[in-house]
């Protein structure tokens, strides 16, 4: 008794769906999700993985099937049947993928919106640079280019509103003046941190304080906003467990927000090629309860010194690549309230394989 082909097809379809759903939600490919955004993105990924698994099984299964089912018999020299198309079938397999990608686009759009990627955030703060007074609604990653000639590549060191920074530039070697950038107004419940990428370290300056640290501490359950910039080349701030990434672009300040939800230590990785030691440009983000976070802030406050020095005016007309990290960082050290030793200790820390990362 042969099973009618329609029923066999239906059964195969059901099996395919079940397999895809099972794998789509049990692939164990992603690291733990430690932020609210991560949960959203993982949902999206699981849906895409389900669809992808279905397509994968369908196509690879068909290919394997034809290899065994339709191989030429050794004695058969004739051609196969003359079938050169089937309009309804072609419409179906054009329409289904079109609808799938449309649905995925809308779903991704929705996820992106939920991540705060499109809409002004509730408290509607603005990011306005000294020159660029246009109103910008804050988004997941909203960048404000400072496009005037002479605009400096410098972190918006809000803690040092009067600062001027010289930037080592391989081509020009000119002294440039930093533009003080009023940072976005922090809301009561969000932590605002100025993130500065430089070869090959991350510096985190806590808004409204003198604190500049080599590792990022954030309280769990509170909105974190990073104002990301770079001093020399492109970098990218990435925390895999948060599923957020944003390039740090010289000459711009780009904002990134996320909501950490799990206490723990996670790696902060530079994801954009930034030079020979790009691979070791790592630090960690410590997500801790509010009290611990405040305690850490206090301990840092004691450690750091308020800036006393006059603004540094010298230019480094040297090729940064020819300098050791320590030499390269020296001009910035006082300004940022950190010491060369501090940086070296950060790097030493990064180079130690850490079991918890």
């Amino acid at each position: 008794m042969k099973i009618p082909s329609q029923i066999a097809t239906l059964l195969a379809g059901i099996l395919l769906t079940l397999l895809s759903l099972w794998y789509g939600y049990n692939h164990h490919l992603l690291p733990i999700a430690a932020s609210a955004e991560a949960d959203l993105i993982d949902d999206l990924f699981n849906v895409m993985m389900t669809i992808g698994t279905g397509i994968f099984i369908l196509v690879q299964g068909s290919l394997l099937w034809v290899i065994f089912r339709y191989r030429r018999k050794p004695d058969d020299d004739s051609d196969a049947k003359y079938i050169h198309g089937n309009i309804p079938l072609e419409i179906v397999w054009t329409a289904i993928p079109a609808m799938v990608v449309l649905a995925l686009s809308i779903y991704s759009f929705d996820i992106y919106e939920q991540m705060g990627g499109l809409n002004p955030m509730d408290h509607g703060s603005h990011l306005a640079s000294a020159h660029d007074a246009t109103h910008h609604d804050m988004t997941l990653a909203d960048s404000v280019p400072r496009s005037e000639p002479g605009a400096a590549i410098a972190a918006p060191l809000a803690a040092l509103p009067e600062s001027t920074t010289a930037l080592a530039d391989a081509t020009v070697g000119a002294t440039t003046t930093a533009v003080p950038t009023p940072a976005p107004s922090a809301t009561q419940d969000s932590v605002v941190i100025n993130v500065n990428g430089l070869q090959f370290a991350w510096l985190f300056n806590y808004e409204g304080t003198e604190i500049t640290a080599g590792e990022l501490h954030v309280p769990v359950g509170r909105d974190v906003r990073l104002n990301i910039s770079a001093m020399d080349v492109l970098h990218a701030f990435w925390v895999p467990e948060f599923r957020v990434k944003q390039d740090a672009i010289p000459g711009r300040t780009v904002s990134l927000r996320f909501l950490p939800t799990k206490v723990g230590e996670y790696p902060v990785i530079c994801a954009e090629l930034c030079g020979a030691y790009h691979g070791v440009m790592k630090t960690k983000v410590v997500v801790e309860p509010e009290e611990a976070f405040q305690a850490w802030l206090t301990s840092q406050q004691v450690a750091s010194r308020p800036e006393q020095d006059p603004p540094m005016q010298q230019a480094i007309a040297l090729h940064p690549a020819h300098l050791s990290d320590a030499d390269y960082l020296a001009p910035y050290a006082q300004k940022l309230g950190i010491t060369v030793e501090h940086i070296q200790s950060i790097q030493a820390m990064q180079q130690m394989p850490e079991s918890n990362l």
């Binding site: 992808g52 051609d79 072609e90 990608v101 390039d247 790696p267």
Partner: protein, 556 residues
């Protein structure tokens, strides 16, 4: 469009024409067949170099520590690996196939501009040698990635970076010259009886490729010229210190380099559409859908470049537009994949190396396509951008896609090009090793990227050591897999079994002339008997004595 005419004699191998000595391959020959083979052989040599660079990169990555080469050299290795594989292997290799096949398939005597064609080829070897020589200049070769983003690229050692720019500019120029030729040849040189919809699909794909090259490559040239000014003259086009903007470079770069991936895959789509029907003995399923989807990909390929910049300085609304455009590309490519599978379905598969590679192509390309749609989704891309997930994705479409397709093309057209058959056993060994090595190398990389391993790093977190070791083993297997192919190609070319004019019983015009074809391609005016894919439908032929084995009798 049926004309009564004898088919070529397919019972006796033709003798090699007297011109077939090796010296012509080192001359400024205007013959498109010579140029096609020059392209293919040259690019294959660079493929081996690029593969050696890849093996060096993977050797470094076998262990978590940076212990094999210096970090600067490591950056140069992957930079040049990418550059060589794109500009000196896949682009020229597909150009070689287009050069060889298109005039033959449309019944032309040569390309539209034979001298220009020779010039386009002869730009490549010096540019390639120049690029390789940059390893030996002060400061080493370029190390800012094949994307060469400023400000890093303008801060790199200048000599290597400048040579890189110059070399890529030359290769881009060669590509443009070739594209002018493809478009004009297909437009103007078709057989008088061949309408647009009677063209073999390689021609459609080549047309789309040519248009893409002409529209996008000049933009890369612009970007690189501005970059070289920033590098040597001290201008500030991309230098934020002087009011420039590094993001502008990214836009200009990707305006070419995204279409570049379609430039690399479209000709292969055409070749696969050619190979599958011949070996499945069945017409291509949905000829027009495949032909027009190439044009759709050509158009869409031009409006998706910013999906490489989702985490860069791209405004949110723009991210959404590019996400949608990128997703839409899955539709025409999906049409092609389904059509290929439908062509195979119900065929009579002649399972030889060419078909294995063609099916391997479909299989691998689908995996790359699935991860491609995932990457199009902005929220997910933000997580995996610049990670090994992306590396896995583009190797699945460019290695599992383009390279498998090129191999399929070599196995399929080798008899036509050389007049000799390739060895099937070695071909199957080659396929098995390549297929296994390839998947072993790149499948685990998806996991690495999702888990948090970023690209372009010489040392990584020890927790990724096991998977990286697997990838490295796969790479060595891939390196080994080229040997059966090399032995096969060289030995068959010299000593292989003589090929008939039409060993696969194909219906396109290149099979209607001798193998290898004579100087002007056709002894007499070629005659179109039927649609190029009318397998299973008997072409009308006159005296039964001259029948092609595929055609059984006169049908009216």
């Amino acid at each position: 469009m049926t004309i009564l005419t004898p088919l070529p004699d397919n019972t006796q191998p033709t003798d090699h024409p007297p011109t077939s000595n090796w010296r012509k391959y080192f001359s400024f020959s205007h013959d498109h067949k010579v140029i096609g083979i020059q392209y293919l052989v040259t690019s294959f040599l660079f493929y081996l170099i690029g593969g050696a660079l890849a093996a060096a990169v993977r050797t470094e990555l076998a262990t978590p520590a940076s212990d094999v080469v210096s970090p600067e050299l490591y950056n140069s290795l992957f930079t040049l690996h990418g550059t060589v594989m794109i500009f000196l292997w896949i682009v020229p290799a597909t150009a070689g196939f287009i050069n060889y096949l298109v005039p033959l398939m449309i019944g032309a005597r040569d390309m539209a501009f034979p001298r220009l064609n020779a010039l386009a080829f002869w730009i490549i070897p010096p540019a390639g040698v120049l690029l390789m020589a940059s390893f030996f200049v002060t400061g080493g070769a370029a190390g800012a990635g094949w994307t060469s983003y400023p400000p890093l690229s303008t801060m790199s050692p200048k000599a290597g970076e400048l040579i890189w720019i110059l070399s890529v500019l030359l290769l881009g120029s060669s590509s443009i010259l070739g594209a002018v030729n493809f478009v004009v040849t297909i437009w103007k040189m078709r057989h008088p009886k061949m309408g647009w919809n009677d063209m073999p699909l390689v021609c459609w794909a080549s047309l789309a490729t040519g248009v893409l090259i002409l529209l996008s490559t000049p933009v890369l040239a612009g970007a690189l010229i501005l970059l070289s000014f920033d590098l040597i003259v001290g201008t500030a086009f991309f230098n934020p210190t002087g009011g420039g903007d590094p993001i502008v470079y990214q836009h200009m770069f990707w305006f070419y380099s995204h279409p570049a991936v379609y430039i690399m895959i479209l000709p292969v789509f055409g070749m696969i559409s050619e190979i599958i029907p011949v070996h499945a003995r069945k017409p291509i399923f949905g000829y027009r859908a495949i032909a027009y989807s190439s044009l759709a990909i050509c158009f869409l390929g031009l409006i998706v470049w910013a999906h490489h910049m989702f985490t860069s300085g791209t405004p949110p609304w723009l991210r959404m537009f590019f996400m949608f455009a990128t997703m839409v590309i899955a539709v025409p490519t999906g049409i092609k994949v389904f059509s290929w599978v439908a062509t195979l379905w119900g065929g009579k598969l002649n399972l030889n190396s060419a078909l294995f590679f063609a099916m391997g192509f479909v299989s691998m390309f689908v995996i790359g396509g699935i991860s491609g749609v995932m990457l199009a989704a902005v929220p997910f891309d933000i997580h995996v951008h610049d990670t090994y997930f992306v590396v896995a994705h583009f190797h699945y479409v460019l290695f599992g896609g383009s390279v498998f397709g090129i191999y399929a093309g070599v196995y399929h057209w080798f008899p036509k090009m050389t007049g000799r058959m390739m060895n099937e056993t070695l071909g199957k060994i080659h396929f098995a090793l390549t297929f296994i090595g390839f998947n072993l190398t790149f499948l685990p990389m998806h996991k690495l990227g999702l888990d948090g391993m970023n690209r372009r790093i010489a040392e990584y977190d020890p927790k990724y050591a096991t998977i990286n070791m697997i990838c490295t083993i796969g790479t060595y297997l891939l390196a080994v897999s080229t040997f059966p192919f090399l032995i096969n190609a060289v030995w068959s070319w010299i000593k292989g079994e003589k090929a008939l004019a039409n060993p696969w019983k194909g219906l396109t015009l290149e099979w209607s002339t001798s193998s290898p074809p004579p100087e002007e391609n056709f002894e007499e005016e070629p005659v179109i008997l039927c649609h190029p894919y009318a397998y299973g439908k008997r072409p009308q032929v006159a005296p039964p004595s001259n029948l092609d084995a595929g055609a059984t009798s006169l049908s009216t």
